[in-house]
Amino acid sequence: MVLRIYDWLDRRFDLRPAMEKILIHPVPSWVNWLYCFGGITFFLFVLQVITGIFLMLYYVPSPDHAYASVSFISHDIQFGYLVRGMHHWTASLIVVMVVVHMLRVFWHGAYKNPRELNWVAGVFLFLLMMGFGFTGYLLPWDQKAYWATSVGTNIAGSAPIIGSFILKVIRGGTDLGAVTLVRFFTIHVMVLPAITVVFLVAHFLMIRRQGISRPF
């Protein structure tokens, strides 16, 4: 069935050469399981996008509704605990997998010339993942969320000279409140995903172009 649909499209658009170029991709014979952590991270990121979209079906980023809507997802919606649980645990797992991926690349010296830029793109992706973690942590609007964000933004505020201004920009005012919650939400679901996609595409194009580096 799928093959017949593919054939039908292929007769019209001549997809085969392009698909073969993309999918038939010889990999060096010395590549082993240590090379799968980047792929796992990407898989987990896709999972976050899917579960995140589903969480948005019920979540409301307002101090009046955030906690109640999250609790509604967990307790009243079928499989809500599962979808929220996947988003929660996958978030931690991504950070673990990013670090393992980075360690492998570092250990094998894969960041060296000519792949410096791909390492840089990877570091940006790491920072973006931390951004997802920091902004997503506030969204349940419980005590842990509130005080963790209070501490986190105060750290940013401790920078010399411009610290207090940065603090106000991040919080959207002096206090941590409704404005903070909406901007963290917007950054979490719109801004960071858009930037991440750009860096992911760059990361993948570069590895495809340069090939997997030989260890050491």
Partner: protein, 176 residues
């Protein structure tokens, strides 16, 4: 998807399968079936709970509310009366004050026709015209008689009846 291999990389056949069977599962085929199977399993394991999660509110049982709207002596036959009331109900994760009303038509001897306030055409609010003795809907000209039967206009069904109870001379209706 069908894939084409560069010449010389076709696998295993040369080692032990030669001459025994012409239809041997190549290593590549085996792996692509394996990957396809695992991908399908992951997709199914995700799709089932996600679908349940998305449609879950539609499968909920509607809450029942019974509202006392007065004594049966308040209503006289041939004289439909609109009764406004409000009740607390759940709206998602919030508790809201739902305002609503019903049209009460006494039939005598403790029997009633209680009509939902929405026209059966597209849900507009209708009113009782005391001169013509008819229920009139202003939106698209739906007209109903005192028993809720359609007399004119586009409504496809008679007025919808609301469940009620009479206890100790008090009238209670099901809130919607």
């Amino acid at each position: 998807m069908e894939t084409k291999l560069p010449k010389g990389r076709e696998t295993s056949q040369d080692h032990n399968g030669a001459g025994v069977s012409t239809e041997k599962l190549s290593r590549r085929k085996f792996l692509s079936y394996g990957i396809g199977g695992i991908a399908t399993a992951i997709f199914a394991a995700l799709a089932y709970p996600l679908a349940g999660y998305a449609v879950s509110p539609a499968l909920r049982k509607q809450e029942e509310h019974w509202i006392a709207i007065g004594s049966i002596k308040d209503f006289k036959p041939g004289n439909p009366k609109k009764v406004d009331f409000s009740f607390r109900k759940h709206d998602g994760w919030t508790l809201v004050n739902q305002k609503s009303n019903v049209w009460v038509v006494a039939k005598g001897e403790g029997e009633f026709n209680i009509f939902s306030p929405k026209c059966t055409h597209l849900g507009c609010a209708y009113h009782w015209d005391d001169n013509q003795k008819k229920f009139m809907c202003p939106c698209h000209g739906g007209v109903f008689d005192i028993t809720g039967k359609v007399l004119a206009g586009p409504p496809p069904r008679p007025l919808e009846k609301v469940s009620y109870r009479v206890q100790d001379g008090k009238l209670t209706v099901k809130g919607v």
